[in-house]
């Protein structure tokens, strides 16, 4: 009788050991390497893309060339400022085929992101918020999102890496935000 009890005890111990081992394996899967590395890499990619975007020179031209105007305006250096002001005074820079610099900016940024992140099958979103006086915040131009095969906008609704490039304009601060996701 005593022997049977001991045997059952041993059986129980073996089961407990096996269950513990199983739990250890599961925990290794669940709490393995976190997404920190991935986030850091994603944010780095977004940041360099934003830097390159803002530095890009364009073919837009100032109508009456003056010393103040750049002959090769850049997206971040001239055109975002011009777009922010265009709502009141109209665009100073003339971009071929576009009514104003805002339309040109949206089209160009959209094309550049499509030819890079879009081609690499990454989802993205680009926002340009104009912070007016007070807390009021509006979109400088419509949000740019990647599109799928059916032509529907996808963007980054959930987990995403972001970078921000604020640009001070005469109309207020423009917050350029680029979101990237897999």
């Amino acid at each position: 009788m005593k022997c049977k009890g001991q045997m059952e005890m041993i059986g129980l111990v073996v089961i407990v050991i096996l269950v513990t081992l199983g739990m250890l394996f599961i925990s290794q899967f669940a709490f393995g390497e976190g997404p920190t590395k991935k986030i850091a890499k994603g944010e780095e990619r977004a940041a360099t893309a934003m830097m390159a975007l803002m530095k890009t020179s364009t073919d837009c031209q100032a109508p009456n060339y003056e010393e103040d105007y750049d002959p090769m305006p850049t997206i971040g250096g001239n055109l975002i400022d011009d777009c922010a002001l265009s709502t009141e005074f109209g665009s100073t820079y003339q971009c071929d085929g576009f009514d104003n610099s805002c339309d040109f900016l949206r089209e160009t940024i959209s094309e550049l992101l499509k030819e890079t992140f879009g081609m690499w099958k990454n989802h993205y979103e680009f926002h340009a918020y104009l912070m007016g006086s007070g807390d009021k915040e509006g979109e400088l131009f419509a949000v740019i999102k990647d599109v799928n095969e059916r032509g529907e906008e996808v963007g980054c609704p959930r987990e995403r890496y972001s970078t921000e490039q604020p640009i001070s304009t005469d109309k207020g601060l423009v917050r350029n935000v680029l979101y990237l996701c897999d």
């Binding site: 096996l18 081992l21 394996f25 830097m51 390159a52 975007l53 890009t56 020179s57 073919d59 090769m72």
Partner: protein, 165 residues
């Protein structure tokens, strides 16, 4: 007779317990094998990815192609196209061995997306008989002083690193 039957039942019980025990052990082994296979694959991928990142970083800070501004700090993630055009021949022909130590078995390509579309192969050394390659991209700025009379223009482009394994 009765005792004999009882012994047979116990025997069957023991066999069943041993069978279940071995089934559990087998499950454990299969699970562990699958797990280590996935881990090994992930580690291999991470290793190749790390190598690609390392090569991207080396290329970004390569004095031969970086956008320098005299004694001032160079522009980050920027390539000087005047240097790129000249560096291509030097990197492949004249100092091939030196650059092979720096970038073993990789292809480095620079692509301009806007305003014009162009491509430069900076370094090309595919591994013989290699079937796998890991491709990484990195967005950069390209500076070209030959295209504008003033300070040159900044183009939008990307760097592609293909690592052969």
């Amino acid at each position: 007779m009765k005792q004999n039957r009882k012994a047979q039942i116990r025997m069957a019980e023991t066999i069943a317990v041993i069978f279940i025990f071995f089934v559990i052990i087998l499950f454990g082994i299969v699970f562990y094998y699958k797990y280590s296979e996935i881990t090994a694959k992930q580690e291999r991928e991470e290793l190749v990815e790390a190598k690609a990142t390392q090569i991207i970083l080396k290329t970004l800070f390569l004095p031969e192609v970086i956008c320098s501004r005299g004694e001032a700090e160079p522009l980050l993630t920027c390539f000087d196209l005047m240097k790129v055009r000249a560096a291509k021949n030097v990197m492949e022909d004249k100092f091939g061995e030196y650059y092979f130590n720096l970038f073993p078995y990789v292809t480095i390509t620079l692509t301009e997306v806007y305003p014009t579309e162009k491509e430069w192969v900076l370094y090309d050394k595919p591994k013989p008989e290699s079937k796998n390659k890991d491709v990484s991209h990195f967005i950069v700025t390209l500076k070209d002083e030959m295209r504008s009379s003033k300070e040159g223009i900044f183009s939008f482009g990307y760097l592609t690193v293909e690592v052969y394994s």
